[in-house]
């Protein structure tokens, strides 16, 4: 049996194994390049993650398909995220011809006068290149501005508005990355740097000369322009006394080597001046003159130029080599640069961390778990038709293997982040899936009737699909803002509340199974019905415990953070509703107000309540927890709620319409789990 499971797993592994890199850039050691550390959006990460997350936002995939009009059997040329990133930063004019922007809305395609689907001429009608979109930049900008001004509330925006904003964001991100190494407005970076250094050197000898001062200010403004692109930070802290906070962008590093360490402060002051300049009455305001004074002070205390740092030199050499197609120089410079990083104590930690992260990126544990759960689900269902023990056992071992992979992924993520498992909406989906599969396996261990398997695998699969879609927003390992930066509360409140979600869903799926099997099949015999009811009841108890504890722990966190145990925030309220709903189910059951079928209907409604709390409250776009706003999911949520209402309606049909119940003589008269004498609670299945 186990051997069969292993064989199946090996098949999955074969299916996911990626083909080796080929194409014109095969000689470049891009997999080494992918492991270089950079800092983007405040996070220290490998180029591999930066590139893949950017590509996901631009074209919804982690790889670039350069011939998207071809079907897969025609073998379109694929570029890895890193190959795309290398081309974008070092051969931008080539990257500008690659069809990497995905546009979904037909109106936007026609507005920008982009070509329709035409496979003969290499056009799939969905993916376009920077060069193709370029004539429409102004149009995109105007449309985006209109949307942002007229519809500040995301809920008002229609699908066209959303795709305009999405394209604008994609274009901005592309531009940010494009300027990472060599700014697009320079043809020879090192020559420009030398020029700046010459100006700075003569300024250092004569600070009172107005002409010199203007020349240097002009230079700083130029480089500040580039700095304001928000490119990734690729220049590591060079001196030994710098910490890992010392990463800079190319522009800041150029200014730093020309003017000393005042560069960051100069840029910040300049940024403030720019911010206030546009406002009415800013000229002559005390704030403005104090900022100007600070700028001049910083300039006066600037240091004489220093030599060009080796890291910048290495990047420029790599860029030029990549441009020429000179893989030998590229590879040797890369190897030298990596050695240099390894000997730098401020970045040695980043280097090992990025290597780990690249390994994790290529493992794709959650994506690879999905087909395992689907197969196990089908095997579990198959078991109910013929009670084939082989199918059930195979399903069990597959889920167990999937669960192991799921757990490995979860732990790896925690290790990478140095955080508890749940830090954002994406990881909550992963964790709900994990908890559900775990509960499903536990149920199966006790009952051995494939119910736990089917419920666990289906929930595991669905939540991983949700996570996969949430990951389309970009980086899933983003840094946490100050108020969330506390591992104790993330580890207790968030984990427990998420387990509460998971168990409420497991109970809800058990109940769905009861209704579907009872109404549509003859498979729900009395024993199965009773065991399903006991499982459901037990899991509801479990869910009550976890959602209650999790919710009040959240209250205590709030009391610690802003002095309010309960603030009626939408997410808090959502969690409270789950607690109240589970309490209602239990009390209704104890009071004899519902029996087997009533219990099931109430529990299905628990799915609605939980989905509202998990996603619905975020869609309101208000409150302290609205960190995960998304509008696209609105329809899915609505559809899911509708499906649950239909199931409840089916579950409320009188027994004569249930295929499993109509022939049973005294079917529904019996309570789900007869109360022991003395009025004690029915026994929960599992606690």
């Amino acid at each position: 049996m186990k051997r069969l499971a292993v064989l199946l797993l090996a098949l999955f592994a074969l299916g996911t194994a990626a083909g080796a890199a080929d194409g014109p850039n095969a000689n470049f050691h891009l997999e080494e390049f992918a492991r270089l550390p950079v800092v983007f959006n405040g996070r220290h990460q490998p180029i591999d993650s930066l590139a893949a997350n950017a590509l996901v936002q631009i074209r919804e995939r982690r790889r670039a398909n350069l011939e998207p009009w071809k079907s897969w059997w025609e073998k379109p040329r694929m570029a890895s995220a890193t190959e795309w990133f290398a081309t974008l930063t070092m051969r931008p004019e080539e990257a500008d011809t690659w069809p990497t922007f995905r546009i979904n809305h037909p109106d936007l395609i026609s507005l920008l006068k982009l070509p329709q689907k035409d496979e003969e001429h290499g056009q799939d009608g969905k993916h376009y290149s920077w060069n193709q979109i370029e004539p429409g930049f102004k149009e995109v900008e105007d449309q985006a501005r209109r949307v942002l001004e007229k519809k500040p509330d995301a809920a008002q925006r229609d699908s066209f508005d959303q795709s305009v904003l999405k394209l604008r964001n994609a274009l901005t991100l592309y531009l940010r990355l494009k300027n990472t190494v060599i700014p697009t407005n320079t043809t020879n970076l090192l020559a420009d740097v030398e020029k700046f250094r010459a100006v700075a050197a003569s300024f250092a000898t004569n600070r009172n000369d107005q002409g010199q001062r203007q020349a240097i200010v002009g230079q700083i403004f130029n480089w500040d322009m580039l700095e304001s692109f928000d490119t990734p930070l690729i220049i590591p802290p060079a001196e030994a006394n710098l910490t890992r906070e010392g990463w800079t962008r190319v522009a800041a590093s150029v200014v730093a080597l020309s003017l000393g360490d005042n560069a960051t402060a100069l840029f910040r002051t300049l940024g403030d001046i720019r911010k206030f300049q546009g406002q009415p009455g800013a000229e002559g305001a005390p704030l403005m003159s104090s900022l100007r004074q600070r700028f001049n002070e910083l300039l006066d205390t600037a240091m004489p130029p220093k030599p060009v740092p080796a890291s910048l030199q290495a990047y420029v050499t790599m860029a030029e080599a990549f441009r020429r197609g000179d893989s030998v120089t590229f590879n040797s410079t890369l190897a030298g640069y990596r050695q240099q990083l390894a000997s730098n104590p401020a970045v040695a930690g980043d280097l090992t961390k990025t290597a780990r992260e690249v390994f994790f990126n290529h493992l794709v544990p959650f994506y690879n778990t999905m087909p395992i759960y689907v197969t196990a689900f089908l095997l579990g269902c198959f078991y109910w038709f013929n009670f084939n023990q082989t199918a059930r056992k195979l399903s069990f071992w597959l889920i167990a293997a999937g669960f192991v992979l799921h757990t490995v992924g979860l732990i790896f993520r925690m290790w990478l982040e140095g955080r508890p498992p749940v830090t954002n909406l994406y990881s909550s989906a992963i964790f709900i899936g994990w908890g559900s599969v775990g509960l499903g396996l536990l149920l199966e261990k006790f009952w051995r009737n494939a119910i736990g398997l089917v419920v666990g695998s289906s929930l595991g699969f669905v939540t991983l699909v949700i996570a996969h879609n949430l990951a389309l927003d970009g980086d899933t390992l983003v840094m946490l803002q100050a108020v969330l930066d506390t591992n104790i509360w993330l580890a207790t409140h968030v984990v427990i509340v998420t387990l509460g979600y998971a168990s409420t869903y497991v109970a809800g799926f058990l109940a769905m199974l009861y209704v579907v099997r009872g109404v549509f099949t003859r498979g729900l015999d009395e024993a199965t019905g009773r065991s399903l009811a006991r499982m459901t009841y037990g899991i509801v108890c479990f869910a009550t415990l976890f959602s209650f504890i999790g919710t009040v722990l959240g209250g205590i966190w709030a009391d610690q953070s802003w002095g309010r145990f309960w603030g009626w925030d939408p997410k808090e309220n959502g969690a409270l509703i789950i607690v109240l709903w589970n309490a209602l189910i239990l009390h209704a059951r104890w009071g004899g107000m519902v029996r087997e079928r009533g219990l099931m209907n109430l529990t299905i409604a628990g799915n609605i309540v939980t989905s509202w709390s998990w996603f619905g409250t975020n869609m309101l776009g208000i409150g302290l927890h609205s960190y995960g706003f998304m509008s696209g999911a609105f329809l899915w949520l609505g559809g899911f709620i509708l499906s649950q209402l239909v199931l409840i309606a089916l579950g409320s049909l009188p027994p004569r319409y249930w295929r499993s119940l109509r022939d049973r003589p005294s079917a529904p008269a019996k309570p789900a789990d007869p109360k022991p004498k003395g009025g004690g609670k029915p026994r929960p299945a599992v606690a």
Partner: protein, 389 residues
């Protein structure tokens, strides 16, 4: 007696109350999108009854009547107490349920106490400044200041907003005059009177800034982090009952001086202040963001507390998730900014909470947690001993 109490003890009542509770919480959450947190909270949770209607045009005829949070909390409490008094029989097997219910009672009572006794205010200052008072973000007062015997102090008479809103005449033993409220606006816009535009609009008042200004009432604000800017037009009458003129006092206006019987009084409409018996000085602010982003990484205020009563004098850091508890108050880091005039001088806003019942939820949580755990362990042991169906 037992028969009388029977309906109050029933589980049916419990289930009904829980269902109503869910409805109230749900509609109270929905209402926040339009009404803002503060208004919705008062309307749905800190009330006895309420109704909910959709805001969308064409759907406003839908009216959902709802019990308020107070009514539901009280009813649940009565139901729980009655059930334990009449129906519930104690046994070790039910000890978990008993504990759980005691904890729930603690949470309900604690929340009610918080609602009644807790006070939230803010302390905002720039680096180097001292404060011995906090300001209420939602409440307003008309403060009348005059020189006290001690030249470093002022005599203050503060008239709360509710008194201003009630209108009529206001007298105070410490004031040698009467104030007659002419008009009051909960939220307002005050602008200079335009020479060409406002030919038909009379000035807001006869004396002070108001003589050159127009006050327009505005709809109360709903956003969570903005406040109303109230305004009041008042007539000042000397002891003989002679009018000295009318003045416009607005939240956005500077203090205005009114001279009565040779003594100067400074009138100002401001956030209600709560004075403390100690002072706090903002020494240094730290505002860190993640490298290359605007995402906040750390907000931190270093302050010095000085208490002349106890002779205490110490410095302490307040930052996210690390509040300061002192003198019955808790200080939380709330906002951070920079001074309008000197960009290098940091400013900080601390949220200050006085809540004598803050421990209740902690106790309640522990008791409920224990109760649920005990109950589930009892059942788990029973389940594991029994052969499965």
């Amino acid at each position: 007696m037992k028969r009388l109490l029977a309906p109050l003890t029933s589980l049916k009542l419990t289930v009904t109350l829980l269902a109503l509770g869910i409805a109230v919480v749900f509609f109270g959450t929905l209402a926040q999108t339009e009404d803002g947190l503060y208004v919705a909270q008062a309307r749905y949770f800190r009330s006895w009854f309420s109704t909910w209607s959709p805001h969308a045009e064409g759907w406003k005829w839908i009216i959902v009547p709802l019990p308020g949070g107070y009514l539901l909390g009280t009813a649940l409490l009565v139901n729980l107490l009655a059930a334990h008094a009449v129906r519930f029989k104690f046994g070790w097997k039910k000890s978990g349920i008993l504990l759980t219910h005691i904890g729930v009672i603690l949470l309900l009572v604690g929340q009610l106490a918080t609602d009644m006794f807790a006070r939230e205010s803010r302390m905002s200052f720039a680096e180097g400044e001292w404060r011995n008072f906090t300001e209420d973000f939602h409440k307003t007062e008309l403060a009348i200041l005059s020189d006290a015997a001690d030249p470093s102090m002022d005599d203050v008479v503060a008239i709360p907003e509710s008194v201003l809103a009630a209108g009529g005449e206001i007298r105070d033993g410490k004031l040698p005059f009467t104030i007659r409220i002419k008009s009051y606006a909960e939220n307002s816009r005050i602008r200079a009177r335009g020479p060409m535009v406002d030919t038909n609009t009379p000035p807001a008042s006869t004396a002070g800034v108001g003589a050159r200004a127009v006050m327009e009432p505005a709809a109360p604000t709903r956003a969570m982090d903005s406040r109303n800017l109230p305004a009041v037009v008042a007539e000042v009458l000397d002891p003989a009952g002679t009018s000295l003129g009318t003045w416009l006092f607005g939240f956005v206006l500077n203090p205005q001086t009114v001279t009565v019987g040779g003594k100067e009084f400074r009138f100002t409409l401001r956030s209600t202040r709560y004075y403390e018996h100690f002072s706090v000085k903002l020494i240094k602010t730290t505002h860190e963001v993640y490298r290359g982003t605007d995402t906040p990484k750390n907000f931190q205020s270093r302050v010095q507390i000085e208490n002349p009563g106890s002779g205490e004098k110490r410095e302490v850091d307040i930052y996210m998730n690390n509040p300061l508890r002192y003198g019955g108050l808790t200080f939380f880091q709330h906002q951070m900014g920079r001074d309008d005039i000197d960009a290098n001088r940091g400013t900080s806003v601390l949220q200050v909470v006085q809540n004598p019942s803050w421990l209740a939820p902690y106790l309640g949580t522990i008791v409920v947690g224990l109760g649920l755990l005990v109950q589930f362990l009892i059942h788990l042991v029973g389940f594991l001993r029994k052969p499965r169906a």
